[in-house]
Symmetry: D2
Subunit: 377 residues, 4 copies
Amino acid sequence: MTKQLNIGMIGYGFMARAHSNAWTNVSHFFDTGYRPVLKAVAARNVSKVRHFAEAWGYESQESDWRHMVERADIDAIDICVPNDLHAEIAIAAAQAGKMVLSEKPLARTEAEGKPMVDAVEKAGVANMVWYNYRRVPAVMLIKQMVESGRLGTIFHYRAKFLQDWTISPDVPQGGQATWRLDVDAAGSGVTGDLLAHCLDTAIWINGGISSLTAMTETFIKERKDAATGENKPVGIDDAAAVLTRFANGSLGTFESTRYARGHKAGYTLEINGEKGSLAWDLHDLNRVQFFDHSVAGAQRGWTNILVTDGDHPYLGKWWVPGLIIGYEHSFTHQVADFLDGVRTSKPAAPTFREALETNRVCDAILASGKSGQWVNL
Amino acid sequence: MTKQLNIGMIGYGFMARAHSNAWTNVSHFFDTGYRPVLKAVAARNVSKVRHFAEAWGYESQESDWRHMVERADIDAIDICVPNDLHAEIAIAAAQAGKMVLSEKPLARTEAEGKPMVDAVEKAGVANMVWYNYRRVPAVMLIKQMVESGRLGTIFHYRAKFLQDWTISPDVPQGGQATWRLDVDAAGSGVTGDLLAHCLDTAIWINGGISSLTAMTETFIKERKDAATGENKPVGIDDAAAVLTRFANGSLGTFESTRYARGHKAGYTLEINGEKGSLAWDLHDLNRVQFFDHSVAGAQRGWTNILVTDGDHPYLGKWWVPGLIIGYEHSFTHQVADFLDGVRTSKPAAPTFREALETNRVCDAILASGKSGQWVNL
Amino acid sequence: MTKQLNIGMIGYGFMARAHSNAWTNVSHFFDTGYRPVLKAVAARNVSKVRHFAEAWGYESQESDWRHMVERADIDAIDICVPNDLHAEIAIAAAQAGKMVLSEKPLARTEAEGKPMVDAVEKAGVANMVWYNYRRVPAVMLIKQMVESGRLGTIFHYRAKFLQDWTISPDVPQGGQATWRLDVDAAGSGVTGDLLAHCLDTAIWINGGISSLTAMTETFIKERKDAATGENKPVGIDDAAAVLTRFANGSLGTFESTRYARGHKAGYTLEINGEKGSLAWDLHDLNRVQFFDHSVAGAQRGWTNILVTDGDHPYLGKWWVPGLIIGYEHSFTHQVADFLDGVRTSKPAAPTFREALETNRVCDAILASGKSGQWVNL
Amino acid sequence: MTKQLNIGMIGYGFMARAHSNAWTNVSHFFDTGYRPVLKAVAARNVSKVRHFAEAWGYESQESDWRHMVERADIDAIDICVPNDLHAEIAIAAAQAGKMVLSEKPLARTEAEGKPMVDAVEKAGVANMVWYNYRRVPAVMLIKQMVESGRLGTIFHYRAKFLQDWTISPDVPQGGQATWRLDVDAAGSGVTGDLLAHCLDTAIWINGGISSLTAMTETFIKERKDAATGENKPVGIDDAAAVLTRFANGSLGTFESTRYARGHKAGYTLEINGEKGSLAWDLHDLNRVQFFDHSVAGAQRGWTNILVTDGDHPYLGKWWVPGLIIGYEHSFTHQVADFLDGVRTSKPAAPTFREALETNRVCDAILASGKSGQWVNL
């Protein structure tokens, strides 16, 4: 028997669209035992939220998220607002006994995130952070192959997330579209926005980071405030590069920037082990590159695996071999896993607690970027 | 004011899923003035169609498509059944005054398709054939670039559609999953299934084909009937290769097979003109390769355009630069264009009449494959 | 004991440079038992041939190839002049008891080539045609893998050779740099120049062609004569596309043109068999693409083999893994194999007789291009 | 009038072959005014050096390099021996008035290299270090494009040199083939061997490095001595990763390892500027990737420039468009430039003095790898 699960969405921006799509589509492709229902959406801008509600078929809308958190007909709160609002909402939702799902990063800092973890654990509610790239089938395949020992001892982990959309000094900070450039709303720049993804995947696949040193830079020192039009200092990091040592003895290099011309959503990762290597690129998200050292010498090479077959993770639910899926499917998969977790009481990762670790590493990166010192974690 | 458009789906297989997804999602991303509603689905297998209806939220189901065609609450009939059933259903639906959308190819032969064209034109109902690859943003971008003259005079058009799923002699013919190998149901093999896509795109982009010669082959001469388990002769073409002359003076080469190991949905196309060339590969459907001869000599090359920006066709409706979309989005785009066509009374292509031309070329290919002669069209 | 082998080169153009490089370098890298010595070069233009002789260290020069063929101190004649001169020179050289190496194609037609075969066989002299692409290590690896059965039954063979250097109508015909556009000198256009390479490789790897049909085209009907400056009709084929059936039951498609913008030396080939596929591209000549169907399903894909390891064909003689070699190395390898053939009396392929088969197929292509009929070979 | 230049080679290993090939071939393709003659080769192993001399046509041989340095008939000394011998030989050669060319790195440390610089400058002899990758045509094209301002302000420089040949603990240290693992002979591991190449190119293209922090690692702590067979501690760095700040304000990341399975000679570099980006990969050494932001939005992308045209650096001397060259050609180009430098008295870069800077940065990397501190340069 399929149960209904009523979703209360907070926000109507880019991420709210991606999540709404996932809640809507999951039942069409996955049999999780739950059917999510878009019950309500909350945001202050009444006319914008109405337009959003109509497009997606939300049954109702609220202008204050606090009202929604209180509603008895809401089972799960999905937080799709800027980072500075995650903590307050999540804690209130947990206290109201709702399941809570938060966009990443969990919070602006580890300190801010810790009470969120406490709140959901105290309330005993299902909770998850939307580090969606774990659910890209190619990334999941990499995770499975590493876990099954195909690479042997790991020597290197390497990840980058490169973009180019803030190169112009005319891009403002703050506001609906550019809050990610405002340190108060975002907490940090590329570290929390982009490196956080790289770190979440890395820790998941390669285990904990034990120490690191970082270089951070703000190329453009002043930008207009989107609200006031006045110049004000830029508080975020425009670029960050990090050297890490993992607990398993391997070395890591991480880099993120919004000043790498030609890279749009350039998240790439690579892992080198004794027996082989694996690599992935978000721009070609359906492909895994695999170097298998066990193949006979003259026939060895990097195998380009098109991850679209029925025996690839999640793919049996979609189309037929050769037909690719896109970015938003990673969210649909995450919803499917979340619902499985609710059904089986084996929570889907990353929970708030697991995601807090990424905040901890982000904090260390920003600190090292200032101090120039190695930080032990 | 958004109007409701009630969809009657016939079939519950692979294509019915892709179409249902498109009807469902279009309103979330496109503002067409219509909101499709999944009103009913029809198929003979009652339990399977019930499962399908539940997954997708169809409001009702029918075990006989004839009943659905008669229902007053259905606005549009969407035909997702094997090719041998297209004509009868489409004609009945047109006569009942319904909009009609048919999976490709329009029919098994030009002769079978002609009355379908007559029926929809006589009834004056909106009609369209699901040659979905026209609506892949990268393919649409190619169309626009060719039309705008970026390539100049065209010399060559080249397309292939390669697969490898029927190499095993154990694959049967007929039945739910393998009707494409049964000549009675499918009409032909790779010609109508795969080359038809290549031809539809080619004619759309490069104009009419004036003559051709073809080679066809059936590698495996007998296969089991999926229903009876008895061996019976294979009537379809396993592979086809074609040389063509286009009306614009350019030369074409086309090839399709289900015996090209390593190719899953290997639809590739390339156009060479005086000023440049364009190429596309379905496995990387978000990319266009463009060689622009107007660039300074030492800096010329093939530019890999990642078709994910807001100013690329359809992409402004989806995510942000760098985030790719998948196969099924082409259907959503086709629905969006179909609805725009209904609203504006400028029918979205290809209509039944336009799609009939592809059947005509397919017939010529099969005839030439037998005769060994050039055929003038 | 290393023996000296005295080379008499005829011609000083592009191919004479590539061959001279091979004769010079072979002893530095390969231990064949012979040390080629650049003894003499012959051509009518005394000052140009002197410049060439100085650059390459030829010990002497001749203005008439007939003198060189008579010289007692010459062991081998290497023919690097336009196609219309191959026959006369080769026959004279054979009659003088010299080893004879001819640039490809052997002759303009099978009829012209037949007496060349007779002459070298009657004289019992070593002979070879410079179909150099067989000796690209990646192509040799493909040959070895196909022969060892890695692909199983072959279904498809596909090759193209695309260029774009004659698109401008201002390119003349005839003369030193553009004799390939003059049908009298070249015999044909892309068929003898480019397809001949594709056919030589195809027959070598996949066996004989039993029948074919072809389409040929001359896009630009008149060009200036490089000598007289007067317009005259173009007698060559600018483009050719061919459908073939191989004796082993597989299907072939071949295409060549000089009107494919963006392709420089675009020789690509692909073979599809039951167990796997192999592909190669001259622009990346150190790479083989291999799809191995025997790999576990979820890890299957196209493996990009970088053919630079010591256990790859010829590579043990060059650098270290990862360091690529270039176009001219294929000639050095061919010289090494030729000298091995001389030493062991197992002639290196393709001999004149073997290369005559390619002329036979080229003749059939040109005939079919005119008649529109299938030709049995 | 072409002058003869007599070369005295020291060493007969891998690099001696690459250099000998360059000295031999340069006159065949480049008109520099000089014709190098392989006059003598020196090494202690008499039989091996004889074999080498015969293969390459060296006119004479010496068992002690000191004798060769004294010979009046030698114009230039080319040092192709392990790093620990560079200084003594180079200084002696300079003092004897010879031109001196040294394999890279100049020396094991800046301190060791400084007297070499002094010696050649005091003697006033032509001198050069074989950082050959500057002369890969694609890399030279990048240099020219950056210099011409195509990228605008530079934000990021990124380079890696990845290999995988020392992963097995059975690889010994010391000896002919593996001296690069012996810290006494090599001075360092990947830093001096591989990163030195990356740094030389980076400084050449992007200007000086002002500060850096590094992480270094030795994965395998003990290896057999190739001479004695006894285990001894490994003194080299197996892997190094570096964060840098360039004087022009851009950020750099560098990484090198011999533990990246699947990478053979994996030197890659990328530069991101305001107006565009450029990238290169040694495995595809004839290609440059260029992202040109000035192109119209919908047609922007990474252009894959096949660097084989007559108007590309050095390429006018080789074959025709589309035909690639290999690794060793970079040395031939360097010889051509060196000889031009001698003729014009404008020394070809990098001179000993210029190459000393790379040693200085390598020293800083090794120091930071130990201290964990940023180092100002």
